[in-house]
Amino acid sequence: MPKLTIDGVEVEVEPGITVLQACETAGVEIPRFCYHERLSIAGNCRMCLVEMEKSPKPIASCAMPVAEGMVIRTDSEMAVKARRGVMEFLLINHPLDCPICDQGGECDLQDQALFYGFDRTRFEEAKRSVKEKDFGPLIQTFMTRCIHCTRCVRFATEIAGVEELGLTGRGEDVEIGTYIEKALVSELSGNMIDLCPVGALTSKPYAFTARSWELTKTESIDALDAVGSAIRVDSRGGEVMRVLPRLNEAVNEEWISDKTRFAYDGLRRQRLDRPYVRRDGKLEEASWDQAFAAIAGQLEDAPGRRIAAIAGDLADCESMLALKDLMAALGSVHTDCRQDGARIEAGERAGYIFNTTIAGIERADACLLIGTDPRFEAPLINARLRKRYLAGGFSVGFVGPEVDLTYRAEPLGAGPKTLGEIAAGEHPFAAVLDDAAHPMLIVGQGALARPDGARVLATARRIAEETGMIGDGWNGFNVLHLAAARVGGLDIGFVPGEGGLDVAAILEAAGSGGLDAVYLLGADEIDMAALADTFVIYQGHHGDAGAEAADVILPGAAYTEKDATYVNTEGRAQHGRLAVFPPGEAREDWKIIRALSGVLGRTLPYDDIGALRARMIEVNRIFAAPDEARPAEWGAFGTPGPMDPAPFAYPLENFYMTDPITRASMTMAECTALARSANKDKTGTDG
């Protein structure tokens, strides 16, 4: 390990790292614009210049590998003077418009200028101005502010996998841009806003709405997909102003998807802010007491077997457990959290979680995707797969329709037939998995949410077992979920009890008059027509399909408005936190169920969230270890048998709109329109 001296202090560092990184380990922060830990080294901003002994010129510390005996000075006259010079050059063409720039207050250039900036200009020529670029409905560009660090170019090329951005021209004419002027389409594009060290790329939906220093920052968890990305919810005066990623190496590193970042305007629209009760076929505003009374009136004489509950994709674990306990108290076993009819059982945990873990993908060397398009179903898992792919020696094959994953993946076949061949070892890809030291597979909802899903699951298990995916310290079997509520629901056991009905059976029973009441906990993705003649209680936060079909609406809280637990697809239980209060009369969901239980005379035995969480731990030990992805015991799951030869279909029609929040978001609607027109362009039917 090389030893070097940094500012007079001798440090010993890992070989192969750069001087900048070595300085960081020594506790010296080096200013930088182009350097970013997760991107390739560009070395073009020159802000990180330091003095190196025996070098006549200062060196760019971000690009200089450490060597034995280096003597580095970061605070010498030479280093500081060099940085001052660089800063002066950077500011030559940078407009001094900080007061009207959205980056103001969180701008690297602004901060560094405070230390290294010159208080007047010596540049008397005309400043250049650059035409704005079209980065789509999410990113506002002010290209005149660009300092050409190329972080966005490297992000698009390396992480997002869309090689469309580049640095064109040279010298003073250099510009960031696309080849043909067209909107940049990537499901991860918003991260470029965070990466941009100046105000060249800023958030369009957030433009001019708030200043960073007036926002209340709440660390929370995203619930719009099953990845469970760590987010920071920035709010002001009871309104979510923006959502930013938070560092979590195990899950999202420091990226989030565009849906996670930009769907927040959906939190303000179409909200259910007071209870409603249907009278004479019309939903009318009501008080909580009236709403509870209406429910009590309906449930009073209803036997438990004629009541059912369905939990939606955004439901949190607390409310699902409370509802399950309430249903049990009412004598009902008809509970289900699998709106899409996925054939996954709650029994064997290894059979429904992402066992490899997201970080574990980096250890894998072959991957089989079954009926899943992770690029849109879980963009951050796809980003991790791409990261692994770029590291080399990673073969990916997929069973399902043609798909562009941003990395090379071999199409193996369309459906169960191919899967059967792989399981039987007759397909060449079986040998690839066999030869891999750490093979993995990901089975998606496109393969499981179909009538023969349990058989597909069993086949996937067979592949896992026969190609050596299950071994000491390695489990390559993974289920990719789409809903933040799903794994939590299965962990809680929000599935039909002994003799209970699942979602399809509940709908069928309701359609034929077999049920007196159906309780929808934020369930909107089911066929509401089947519930037309049944008393429907809808508890949720948005006026979506469920609310429309409801007889009583109980206004709940969205994921930014409650302290709630979500279990991500890896089986990692994480706590989301209340950033703003639910609007109007709306309340946190578990409290609504707890209050209702009192009205129904079956008071649930928890009065605060602590007691409820203690009950959760009682039901499933995994809740005792939040933020951890505990390995699950391997066991038997799935139902062996012949599969339907129909090819798999990917479940997401539109990545941007998957739940009531995203459907209410204007930003997501714009993204949808853009994605549709981009797809049309591809087929040449639209100019």
């Binding site: 869309v162 090689e163 469309e164 951005l165 580049g166 640095l167 064109t168 021209g169 040279r170 696309t178 080849y179 043909i180 002027e181 067209k182 389409v185 990537s186 562009d404 994605a675 981009a678 797809n679 362009d681 591809k682």
Partner: protein, 212 residues
């Protein structure tokens, strides 16, 4: 979401499709063959040059797209190269591309007069093309012929040791369709000293040197 083979939008229609001629296909593969097998992108400049020569000295978007596809590169990577080098043209140019070096050594030796002579003789300003499509005038940075400064480059040839009058004579010849002799226009051999040899003139026996 968008594939790499989207047809370019600007100017693609007027320019028409682009493909290498048979002879150029062979040349292209020869150029690619100069580089290691998995480094075919290294041939990008050679292929762009080939495409530009085939297409009257400029690269329409279909040609850029064609080269990108030929080398399995994203179009933007090729476009970056095209925009970086002043030798690649993205707009139609005249048959004779007159590039005047105005970097310091040439400027010190009178490139301003050379440039003025070009303007005057051709009747166009910088970055313009004569109406008959014969000449395009551009200003370039150092072309590496400082010893014979000032100089201009016309297509593939350097014309050196110029002044206003010699530049005018040169361009007049070109206008007539003649082919002026490239190299020094004062008749000096390559970059030989203007006033005869100044070094290594004494016999080998002599010890030491006599200054410059």
């Amino acid at each position: 979401m968008s594939g790499p083979t989207n047809p370019p939008a600007n100017g693609a229609d007027e320019a028409g499709p682009f493909a290498f001629t048979k002879a150029n296909l062979a040349l292209a593969d020869e150029i690619i063959g100069r580089y290691p097998e998995d480094r075919e992108a290294s041939a990008v400049m050679g292929l762009l040059d080939l495409a530009q020569r085939q297409n009257d000295g400029w690269l329409p978007p279909p040609a850029v797209a064609y080269v990108a596809e030929y080398l399995h590169m994203p179009q933007i990577r090729v476009y970056e190269v095209v925009t970086f080098y002043s030798m690649f043209n993205l707009k139609p140019v005249g048959r004779n591309q007159v590039r005047v070096c105005t970097t310091t050594p040439c400027w010190l030796r009178g490139s301003a007069a050379v440039l003025d002579a070009c303007r005057e003789t051709l009747g166009i300003d910088l970055n313009e093309t004569t109406e008959d499509g014969e000449f395009t005038l551009t200003e370039v940075e150092c072309l590496g012929a400082c010893v014979n400064a000032p100089m201009i480059q016309i297509n593939d040839d350097y014309f050196e040791d110029l002044d206003g009058a010699r530049t005018k004579a040169l361009l007049d010849l070109l206008k007539k369709g003649d082919k002026p002799k490239p190299g020094s226009q004062t008749g000096r051999q390559c970059s030989a000293p203007l006033k005869g040899f100044a070094t290594m003139i004494s016999s080998a026996k002599t010890k030491g040197t006599e200054g410059d």
